[in-house]
Amino acid sequence: MEKTIAGKNITVNEEGYLTDFSQWDEKVGEALAAEANIPLSARHWEILTYLQNEHKNQVALSIRRIGKSGVTDIKEFYQLFPTAPLKTATKIAGIPKPASCI
């Protein structure tokens, strides 16, 4: 479905995830974060960039992998994105929701 955010038209699925990463920019990320009530700090951006790179390299994302990323640890990840961190962070990053159970 179509959605207007940060003055831009984007296409999202029924859960609000961008379906085309090329429509993503930092302003869109900021606006999606605001919808999730998360003010983005420099630490948030480091993690979002990491997630986007992992996605680009077709790495399946999981909480375990976040813990081993060297970018953040699981505890901090939950502090920065308190509710459902992997789901929330991937949505803000403009990449698909990971289909991971761990």
Binding site: R64, G67, K75, Y78, P82, A84
Partner: protein, 160 residues
């Protein structure tokens, strides 16, 4: 029953078994809850305590006897070394799908904010002390304490 459209807010998981498949079931459910923004707590009781006993948690096995889903004759499953063999095969498969071992899984649960409790009655029965347990276990509590932790709307309880 329909507060907040029945949204699940907290999972209270009681782990009473020490077989690998049951321990993993409880851990995956607790971690999966946190990943969805749902609170989770685990109450370790009876053989479930082995999953947090420092000297035992690395040595949990799958059950080869009395487990029809293993598709192994009971007599064969009872042979010496059979449990260890089946367990090491299962652990190899788990590593392939990026499943952490028990100790790492406990670390993940602790970092994710899962609260863990040990059952006082079972601790007394097995003569375990708090210091025998994994550090993430907050406290040894009674079943009454556990029910108090379970109060509130949208709380679900699960017995493994």
């Amino acid at each position: 029953m329909n507060e907040n459209n029945g949204a699940i807010k907290k999972m209270m998981i009681i782990l009473s078994k020490g077989t690998l498949e049951n321990v993993y079931a409880a851990f995956v459910l607790a971690n999966g809850a946190r990943m969805e923004g749902i609170e989770a707590e685990i109450f370790f009781t009876f053989f479930g305590l082995e999953a947090v006993h420092k000297k035992k948690l690395e040595h949990l096995h799958v059950a080869t006897v009395g487990n029809p889903a293993m598709h192994m004759p009971t007599m064969l499953g009872g042979l010496p070394g059979m449990e260890a063999l089946a367990s090491s095969m299962m652990k190899k498969e788990m590593e392939k799908i990026d499943m952490p071992d028990v100790h790492e899984f406990l670390d993940i649960l602790t970092a994710s904010g899962v609260r863990m409790w040990a059952c006082k009655l079972a601790m007394d029965m097995f003569h375990y002390k708090k210091e025998d347990l994994y550090e993430g276990v907050e406290e040894v509590i009674t079943v009454g304490d556990f029910y108090k932790h379970s109060q509130g709307e949208g709380v679900h309880m699960l017995f493994v």
